[in-house]
Symmetry: D2
Subunit: 255 residues, 4 copies
Amino acid sequence: MGTSERTIRVTVWNENVHETTEEAVRQRYPEGIHGAIAAGIRDQLGAGAAVRTATLADPEHGLTEEVLADTDVLTWWGHAAHGEVSDEVVSRVQRHVLGGMGLVVLHSGHLSKIFRQLMGTTCTLRWRAGDDRELVWTLKPHHPVARGVPSPIVIPAQEMYGEVFDIPDPDELVFVSSFTGGEVFRSGCVFYRGNGRIFYFSPGDQAYPVYHQLEVRRVISNAVAWAAPTGDGRDAPKLRNSPLGWYDEEAEGQS
Amino acid sequence: MGTSERTIRVTVWNENVHETTEEAVRQRYPEGIHGAIAAGIRDQLGAGAAVRTATLADPEHGLTEEVLADTDVLTWWGHAAHGEVSDEVVSRVQRHVLGGMGLVVLHSGHLSKIFRQLMGTTCTLRWRAGDDRELVWTLKPHHPVARGVPSPIVIPAQEMYGEVFDIPDPDELVFVSSFTGGEVFRSGCVFYRGNGRIFYFSPGDQAYPVYHQLEVRRVISNAVAWAAPTGDGRDAPKLRNSPLGWYDEEAEGQS
Amino acid sequence: MGTSERTIRVTVWNENVHETTEEAVRQRYPEGIHGAIAAGIRDQLGAGAAVRTATLADPEHGLTEEVLADTDVLTWWGHAAHGEVSDEVVSRVQRHVLGGMGLVVLHSGHLSKIFRQLMGTTCTLRWRAGDDRELVWTLKPHHPVARGVPSPIVIPAQEMYGEVFDIPDPDELVFVSSFTGGEVFRSGCVFYRGNGRIFYFSPGDQAYPVYHQLEVRRVISNAVAWAAPTGDGRDAPKLRNSPLGWYDEEAEGQS
Amino acid sequence: MGTSERTIRVTVWNENVHETTEEAVRQRYPEGIHGAIAAGIRDQLGAGAAVRTATLADPEHGLTEEVLADTDVLTWWGHAAHGEVSDEVVSRVQRHVLGGMGLVVLHSGHLSKIFRQLMGTTCTLRWRAGDDRELVWTLKPHHPVARGVPSPIVIPAQEMYGEVFDIPDPDELVFVSSFTGGEVFRSGCVFYRGNGRIFYFSPGDQAYPVYHQLEVRRVISNAVAWAAPTGDGRDAPKLRNSPLGWYDEEAEGQS
């Protein structure tokens, strides 16, 4: 069935604040975090993906109705400026996700408006900026998102994210991480919402070169390929009246 | 039934619009839908529950910080006036649910702000006002919410609610209903969010005397008993910094 | 990413007892139930699938180590002779499923040794042979298994299967059916076990021509495509000693 | 804690092989591992539990039909002699679990016949005998099984159990552990099967005094209280014919 012949249209979103205000981050990510993520996806998926980027400073944050309608999978990175993202854009993104657009939420994006709005919980966690080594363990070796990565992925230095991570139980739990300090974290989580597929992946921080690491790029690219819609059309669930019953309606096909 | 020595503090919330504007509904529910639901809970749980009611027209809809702090389980009925519920009150209720307060959402409450905000999806469905007979089948006979009710519960006349019901996969699916028209619906759904327990139960409508039916009252009462917090305190998840690691923190107990 | 370039190797298994002992069934399924199922898959998947059949009467029921190693997805139909299936063959099939082989269990296969052994429960249900009309409703319109079928699928005459269906909670619930008698049934259930994907689909009976119906053939074919392994190799989970720790092991890749 | 007026009838089962063949284990657990577990439950639940023990060497391993019918919750410890447990007894225990008896499986019991038979998977994992420090983190602070224990529980020296743990996705994931070596493990898992509740808890080994540790005893006791049946009667799911339909059957109540 595979979506393999199709080119997946990817929009990589980044608030792009740390890179424009902190010299160390600019040096670490000279093309921005979005640039590094986009490069990783292009590198991994090649002709299988058409990747563009968008940032907070763009008009409508670069996420107009037209852009979203032309996007199969959106990736999201934010941290310092969650509050500056327009509620209208967030609701628009939510509508597209429920209609079938894939969403890959990265690292500090756990506190983004769009993730919290889709989860319904606080999405809070425990954290420490302490150069912990992170080990990312695979729980589901045959899951498409885990394809081709070692278990564990070793990230030499990272921010610690630990439990309790206040999310609904993931529909599939693909990765769990441990840190030097002994903490654990559900670092790779699948959620199905409406007709859309959501993957949360925690590795990655403005203070560490995580998005240059091959295995991390592979997971993100796997997630993009996995989250691409399998149905045709952007088809958000809606209230439907059946006054006469199903037998009087026209057949409704799914595709 | 579990927390049997404790008296469960229940707040029954109702928008109370149909009853005050439509004579037929007033006659069907002379004490309001909230009155019928409260009577059912009092009848079933007896001294095990202390039940009060609150409605849309009350100041702050009757859901002040003080009332919620004094509530173990909140039940929610709304239909015609979802949009009139204050966003501030909705966020307050959400915070209490994530902190451990139980929530029982009834029937057309599926489109309430509070339910949609906790689910993150559209919560839309298929419906018909056509006097269908509803059969409520138990999938989990030993679930506390199904205690003491026949399978199926036969509701002689009801609004039809059918799939697709756009919700996250329930953490537990207790009841599924069928209707005269042949439609099916996940009519009894458990969700765990934050530290709170949520039960959605679909039978019940302003146009039918469903909340006077014994089996329906029993399910709602079971749900109230089940949703009551097992932990002590209203303890919403929060962001927590662990700069020195778990070993330097004071022990954190749960209760 | 898509299995679309690969040809899926399918083995359609059938006990083939009713067809060889009852004239009415022979006339309904002149090529056997396995013949009808195989024809449906060939028709739907075309060059995407290489389909063979195997039956109870074959040596080792046609399910030798060699055949299973050469099978991506196995479909299972049985009813009258569950007890005659060799325990050794059942354990062999289970090992292949846990290693990544897809399994599609059909109708009365719910009581087969292999399904009960993989589920761990009784897999019992409620039933009636009464020419009920079955309506198969889609709960997840964008699930690959639901692709291209109407909701509901109308099956004019069928055996009734009703709840309680004693299975573990499905990892994904794709279809729920209703019957003329008002019963409901989880008719399309996804289970992930080990590295394998399992789909249970209830429509289908020796007494009705269900496997000649287009929509049913489409669901079975969708399920076959979906259940095909995404990893490389038949890789059953095993006990693994890590005496020196992960850092001393050779990297373990998944593919 | 819930079923507080009732006395929970607990049977603590242990193969009792290491204690009778290895002097070091005998000294660590002079009353046997079962003795230590039983003492912990008695200490924590007091008059709320009536605890007896049974071992492999007893006739029918001490698990006759009469004993099981008189047991609300069974705890299981085994390691060296899984293969010596009679298949007939295992099937009997499985039948009681599906009928509503609670089951708490401990540590190396993950490879017991009863656990593998109920799970349907290999239940294999990664392990190391290397005196790792285990940290047991709570993911669900308000879950009854986590009541009153710190997060993390610190176990000074333990056998390492790591992922991949080949189990079906737990219905609820309460604890995740990390180890000195950096491995992670789903150490507290809830499974609902039939009418029964199952909890798997990994801390504990014949080579370490884990079952003397207060927090571990509290978790096991919490699990016992939580797993006690909420329904009345030992009611295994069964095949049920409804020739005339639900409307002609006697009402079936649950209790």
